[in-house]
Assembly symmetry: C2
Homo-oligomer: 224 residues x 2
């Protein structure tokens, strides 16, 4: 109950939430992964997770991993909501580049009060996704799950729309912007070459762009 409000706890909870999403079954997330995401050594993660479990925020099975409890998930979603609304504000109202807002939001997500958040949300017109296409958890109620697949799983000839960028690294986002691979943009899959480990796409009549599969894995798209 206590740790809920510290920046540290918020980060652990938020990261665990995101890890759960990815490898989503009901399988616990190995603490090594959590440690990586949070940026601490594995031993530290073990120590902290045991504490959060004691606080009723996570469920922990030694050697297997951790999962958020409903209570922990509630906190995590709150942090994620603040993070994404802040990012949206920074881009739309302060004109920061979308490649740099993640870092800013990583700090501000812990400093914005409920009241300020509500005002920002209203000012932005209650957005449902952040600048990278990630869904903004609603203040109340469940978050919409949009079905998307990575660009790397598309077939040549398909026409898809960029929905969401999964990597927050400034370099990656900068590149994606340069290539025009931003949410809501339609692209045509020119070629998928598993052997060359590459995907070639084309936006309108621009010159085709080729990406490695690892990068294409981070770009989620939907049909039409």
């Amino acid at each position: 109950m206590a740790r809920t409000q510290t920046t540290t706890a918020q980060n652990y909870l938020k990261e665990l939430y995101q890890l759960q999403q990815r490898s989503d079954g009901h399988a616990p997330v190995p603490l090594g992964q959590l440690a990586d995401s949070v940026g601490v050594t594995p031993g530290t993660a073990t120590t902290m997770v045991k504490r959060f479990a004691g606080d009723g925020l996570m469920r922990y099975t030694p050697r297997r991993g951790a999962r958020l409890t409903p209570k922990g998930e509630k906190v995590a979603l709150g942090v994620l909501r603040r993070h994404r609304i802040v990012e949206t504000f920074l881009v739309q109202h302060l004109g920061l580049d979308w490649s740099e807002v993640h870092e800013e939001a990583e700090v501000l997500e812990h400093a914005v009060s409920e009241k300020v958040l509500d005002r920002l949300d209203a000012l932005l017109g209650h957005p449902t996704t952040d600048p990278h296409g990630s869904p903004i958890p609603p203040a109340h109620g469940k978050m919409q799950r949009v079905a998307m697949r990575p660009l790397s799983r598309c077939k040549a000839g398909q026409r898809v729309t960029i929905g969401r960028l999964l990597d927050t690294a400034p370099g990656f986002l900068k590149l994606a912007e340069t290539l025009g691979l931003v949410p809501d943009t339609q692209v045509r899959i020119v070629e998928v070459n598993e052997d060359a480990d590459a995907v070639t796409v084309r936006i309108g009549r621009r010159k085709p762009a080729t990406l490695g599969l690892a990068a294409a894995d981070k770009i989620m798209v939907s049909n039409d």
Copy 2:
């Protein structure tokens, strides 16, 4: 050099700066006062101040008190600048009440980056004072010192303009707003009664308002 960036250090430095302003001579500020302002016990203040002195942020004379070094003052002014720009933003762009923005800014002042600060500053049109009339330290260069005296030192019959409210307590600010005692408002001093410990003022043709001297002490005014 290390502590400069922690929230705790920023608070100590900022509070010390403000205390220095008030009792300004070059006299050191007793640690008891600093402890009060920061909200810790005196022993804690002693411990911390010794550390900050070691970091070259404060100069400390046991039993007498502490002063900021030029380096410490630079940090303090930065925090104050962030605090006041954030307050101004919260009032002017998010529409929060001026009585509640201080608390919000107390947290956000530690989370806003230089880049975000610059954008906010530009968005606000480079304001020179915050909603309570306090001067916003400029990004570079010295802060302007405006001469003002407390409402409590005015004489009956004088016409003065409210310049700045020194108390950040929501209750006080709420009251001041109700009475119309906000920066840039002209008021007439109806009566100053030292014995009754009261000052009566009048704004335009509203009904006169009477304040205790303690409250009037927190309201700084200038002539004309």
